[in-house]
């Protein structure tokens, strides 16, 4: 036991020394790319982006993608007391709301038993579903749809 303690202290010490050796200052141009301003200056935050509120269904990028929310969800309360989304998306609300019903998987527990109401593991909608901003991409996205991949099998380097 004692030898093990001594050993672990030794390992920790050596680790911290190696970490110290490696912490070279980040070059200034790198800092600028991270926060777009020198470290001692508080930059003006960029203008807030608009949330897409078109109510038009968006195509999923891959079959099991959680569908994105095509409307604003400001102030929607999702907690132990209430789930605001379910005011329209619950099975028995879709008649008057004409909103898509949350998929049947959301009513199943992990043993695939069907429940009368939302399964606790699927309760917090915004864990998977998000609304989208009408924003320009900061970096180029080279995602390729699986359909495209299947069309040209030769170019499957991604």
């Amino acid at each position: 036991m004692k030898t093990r303690n001594v050993l672990s202290v030794f390992v920790l010490l050596s680790l911290s020394f190696s970490a110290m050796a490696e912490t070279a200052p980040v070059p200034e141009d790198k800092v600028a790319t991270l926060r777009l301003a020198p470290i001692d200056i508080e930059p003006t935050p960029p203008a807030m982006q608009k949330v897409i509120n078109s109510d038009v269904k968006q195509v999923r990028n891959y079959p099991m993608q959680p569908p994105i929310i095509p409307h604003r969800i400001d102030g929607y309360q999702i907690d132990l007391k209430v789930n605001k989304c379910m005011q329209c998306h619950a099975r028995n609300s879709t008649g008057h709301s004409q909103a898509p019903m949350v998929s049947v998987t959301h009513y199943m527990d992990r043993e695939n038993n069907f429940l009368a109401s939302l399964s606790p593991r699927r309760y917090y909608c915004t864990q998977c579903h998000v609304s989208q901003l009408d924003a320009k991409l900061l970096v180029e996205n080279d995602f390729v749809d699986v359909k495209e991949l299947m069309k040209n099998p030769a170019k499957t380097e991604h």
Binding site: D55, H71, K81, V82, S93
Partner: protein
């Protein structure tokens, strides 16, 4: 005891129904007029003071619960700077309704004195009951306090989102639903909504 009170009342009545001996008619009418302005004005000013945001949030029950929740909502802060504060939704503008609500509010003084919601836990415990009072009031008066600002006749459906205009041009237009039926919890957090229609 009762005989004595009756005697006193008789004396007062006698004084009131006798013409004034010392004061002129002009003094009495003008004096009464001025006193009326002061008392009526004072009453209304006091009523108005008791409907300000400062007054409502001077109780910690309101300040640390509902006022905090209001602050992140669109009725408190928004692009155009129009604010609906406590009284805009919770005190009717119409005079008789206002007086009726102010008399009901005496129950709130009882609550303050006996501390029915003086902790967060007690407030959370009563949240559903308190919310239900407000839902019932707004349902009964066809969401009058909403409509003081949001006039249905002035709504431009083409400026609303598809969902909003679909709802407003059908259920709301026909009078089948009123604002509070769908817009619960827009200014404060909702209580446990188990069993509430539409949830």
């Amino acid at each position: 005891m009762i005989a004595k009170i009756l005697e006193n009342l008789k004396l007062i009545w006698k004084v009131i129904r006798r013409p004034s001996v010392h004061y002129s008619l002009g003094f009495l009418t003008l004096g009464g007029f001025v006193a009326g302005i002061i008392f009526w004005g004072g009453f209304n000013t006091a009523l108005e003071l008791a409907s300000t945001e400062e007054f409502c949030t001077s109780c910690h029950e309101m300040e640390s619960n509902v006022y905090q929740e209001l602050q992140s909502t669109i009725h408190f802060t928004n692009r155009s700077g129009v604010r609906a504060t406590c009284s805009d939704c919770h005190v009717p503008h119409n005079w008789t309704d206002k007086i009726a609500r102010k008399m009901q509010a005496s129950k709130e003084i009882w609550g303050k004195v006996f501390g029915t919601i003086n902790t967060r836990e007690k407030f959370e415990g009563k949240r559903r009951e308190l919310a239900e009072h407000e839902w019932a009031r707004l349902k009964a008066n066809d969401s009058l306090e909403c409509r003081n600002c949001h006039n249905f006749d002035y709504m431009d459906f083409t400026r609303q989102s598809k969902r909003a205009s679909a709802m407003h041009s059908t259920s709301l237009a026909s009078g089948e639903k009123t604002c509070i039926d769908c817009h619960k919890g827009i200014a404060h957090q909702l209580p446990d909504m188990a069993g509430v229609e539409g949830f």
